[in-house]
């Protein structure tokens, strides 16, 4: 794997796939830098797999182009694209040993036996399976099988590594270890990678950038931090983590802050570069919210009044579920300290004032 310094970038241009009357992928345009790992994330059926398979060449696009290293590969068959791919079910050849599986791609490239052996050994030791070379895949655990598949994919020094829900069949702990392991190897080798997942934690953990897909289109592209704290739409904000949404009207603008009076009563300040909007939708993450008791009939100066409905102890946090005056739900995640539950002082029926720092406010589109 010494020669894997030739990282390639990937570009998708207007990539579209239509099945009959159903548009699975609708004009996806995206640039992925050399050595970058991008996660395609979205609900079931949004076109993630179809997009990945078009990049691989396993599905022929109806329209648009795939460019690897600036070279248009749209009409080039899969087996000449030099791509490593991981499948959810590992797809190891059951009639070949671990070493034969890993050697397969090198054999297809016509390498001599003497060249193949050291490469296979290096790849297997990279995934810490050096001692398993002679086993059959059926004699390995799921995690080991996927590591063999990873070795098999990277030993050919691919231009691209494509992963379609590679860890979907593993249990939670193993999945987290594998996420870290795959990510480390991908970074070490500097391979450009595209990961398909519908597990948001996996996307946030592994990817340099996350692409949120919805109905065959790109909804938002950004770093995990941007996607989480600066969601573009209500859809993204509720798909990644949990979010509270507040409707309001802009009542004033000063010092780079919008003053928004909320439909549920109360008001908040939102740092925003312009005051071009009148009606806004604010997204607030539950972990940003602090609660304080509120006298009956009082109105918080900054924040929103709410009625506690349920308090749920969750270990690290306590979730306080509330209802706002306009009937909308609102939730706060309060951090717990050992021996002291943050929600202890609240009970169902209590009137509270929910508030948070202005920086926690973010305006999203209502779609």
């Amino acid at each position: 794997m010494a020669g894997s310094g030739t990282a390639t970038d990937l570009a998708l241009s207007g990539l579209t796939k239509v099945y009959g009357t159903n548009t699975a992928v609708a004009g996806v345009t995206l640039r992925i830098g050399a050595g970058e790992m991008v996660a395609l994330l979205g609900p079931s059926g949004c076109g993630k797999t179809t997009t990945l398979r078009m990049i691989a060449g396993l599905v022929e696009p109806t329209e648009g182009d795939v460019l690897i290293g600036g070279f248009r590969v749209t009409r080039i068959p899969v087996h000449r694209r030099n791509i490593g791919m991981l499948f959810q079910n590992y797809a190891l050849f059951p009639h070949m040993s671990v070493a034969e599986n890993v050697a397969f791609g090198l054999q297809m490239r016509g390498l001599a036996k003497a060249e193949i052996r050291p490469k296979v050994e290096a790849a297997l030791s990279l995934v810490r399976l050096g001692d398993y070379a002679d086993r059959l895949p059926s004699a390995l655990s799921g995690g080991q099988q996927q590591r063999v598949a990873l070795a098999r994919a990277i030993v050919i020094e691919p231009n691209l590594l494509l992963l379609d829900e590679p860890l979907g069949a593993l249990d939670r702990n193993l999945r987290e270890n594998m996420q870290v392991e795959i990510r480390q190897i991908q970074k070490r080798l500097g391979i450009t990678a595209v990961l398909v997942t519908h597990d948001q934690e996996e996307a946030l953990t592994m990817a340099d950038r996350v692409v949120i897909m919805r109905g065959g289109k790109l909804e938002q592209v950004g770093t995990p931090e941007q996607i989480y704290s600066r969601p573009a739409s209500r859809f993204v904000a509720s798909f990644i983590g949990t979010s509270n949404f507040l409707r309001g009207n802009v009542a004033g603008y000063g010092g780079g802050m919008l003053r928004v009076s909320l439909a549920a009563g109360g008001q908040v300040l939102v740092p925003w570069p312009d005051d071009g909007r009148r009606e806004v939708l604010i997204s607030v993450r539950p972990e940003a919210v602090a609660l304080a008791p509120l006298a009956e009939g009082a109105m918080p100066e900054i924040g929103v009044p709410a009625t506690v409905q349920q308090v749920v102890y969750r270990g690290q946090t306590t979730h306080v579920h509330m209802q706002l005056a306009d009937g909308e739900p609102f939730v706060a995640f309060l951090p717990n300290r050992v021996g002291e539950s943050a929600g202890q002082s609240f009970a169902a029926g209590d009137k509270v004032s929910a508030s948070w720092s202005p920086q926690s406010n973010w305006l999203v589109s209502d779609a």
């Binding site: 691989a56 087996h79 791509i83 791919m85 797809a91 297809m108 050919i156």
Partner: protein, 267 residues
């Protein structure tokens, strides 16, 4: 697979299996027993023990000719069904062939058409085309009825092959041709073997097609047996039948040695 059946359902299953076995095997045992009988006509129970019938049958030129014709015909139709059936099944299942379902139905139709009528129709058709070579005609007729077995078993095996294995091989740089030989073929070998065994036995055992298409010089064993039986009914008939049974057993053992019967029959 090795789980034991228990309870009422289990008992019933064992009973039915045993009954089936008795009905299939005991007539065969009777035939084999008769082939060693010293009596001059084939009646049960056999009298004494002699291998005289075997010695006689083995040197009987007509029998040898018929046996050879049948084996040749069965091997040839099996090979032809393999050569035609494998690509046909592959194309129908892996490529987007327009009208694939219709083509598959046509290929499998000998399964449901009455074979005796198919044979008669073939005879008339071949007479019309002035096809006079009985061996060629027999070969064509046998391929017609053995091909569906290959198409069926290969199709069933192909459906069981995990497509992502083939896709993984493609991404690793294997051309579709090499994907087939390195990945697909090893997965479907048991199915192919089972199909070949069926094809061989169906041809070797065929009466209704051969009945119409054979002549005095090219007479497959089942036709020859039937002819002999109408002349004499001595234990040599049972002896010849025993050879047929043995051929079947040998074919099954061969398959077992080659790929393992259980794997082959699991399609």
């Amino acid at each position: 697979m090795a789980a034991r059946l228990s309870g009422g359902g289990g008992a019933l299953t064992y009973f039915l299996a045993a009954a089936g076995l008795i009905f299939i095997v005991s007539p065969l045992v009777v035939v084999v027993a008769l082939s060693f009988s010293e009596a001059s006509i084939a009646t049960y129970p056999p009298v004494g023990f002699t291998t005289a019938w075997y010695q006689r049958v083995i040197v009987d030129d007509e029998f040898r000719q018929a046996f050879l014709t049948s084996v040749t015909l069965a091997l040839a139709s099996t090979v032809a069904s393999f050569v035609l059936g494998l690509p046909a099944a592959y194309a129908l299942n892996r490529w987007e062939v327009p009208g694939a379902r219709t083509i598959e139905t046509i290929l499998l139709s000998p399964f449901i058409l009455p074979i005796l009528i198919t044979g008669l129709a073939l005879l008339q058709f071949m007479a019309l085309l002035r096809m006079r070579d009985a061996l060629t005609n027999l070969f064509i007729g046998h391929v017609l009825i053995t091909l569906p077995y290959l198409v069926r078993t290969v199709t069933a095996s192909l459906k069981q092959v995990d497509r992502s294995l083939e896709e993984a091989a493609l991404t690793l740089g294997a051309s579709p041709w090499r994907v087939f030989w390195r990945v697909t073929a090893p997965q479907i070998t048991p199915g192919i073997a089972a199909g070949c065994l069926f094809a061989f036995m169906v041809s070797f055992d065929d009466f209704p097609i051969s009945f119409w298409l054979s002549n005095a010089e090219n007479m497959p064993l089942p036709i020859y047996l039937q002819n002999s039986m109408t002349k004499v009914f001595d234990p040599s008939i049972a002896t010849m039948s025993s050879f047929t049974i043995m051929t079947g057993i040998l074919a099954v053992i061969g398959l077992e040695k080659l790929v393992g019967l259980r794997r082959a029959m699991s399609v």
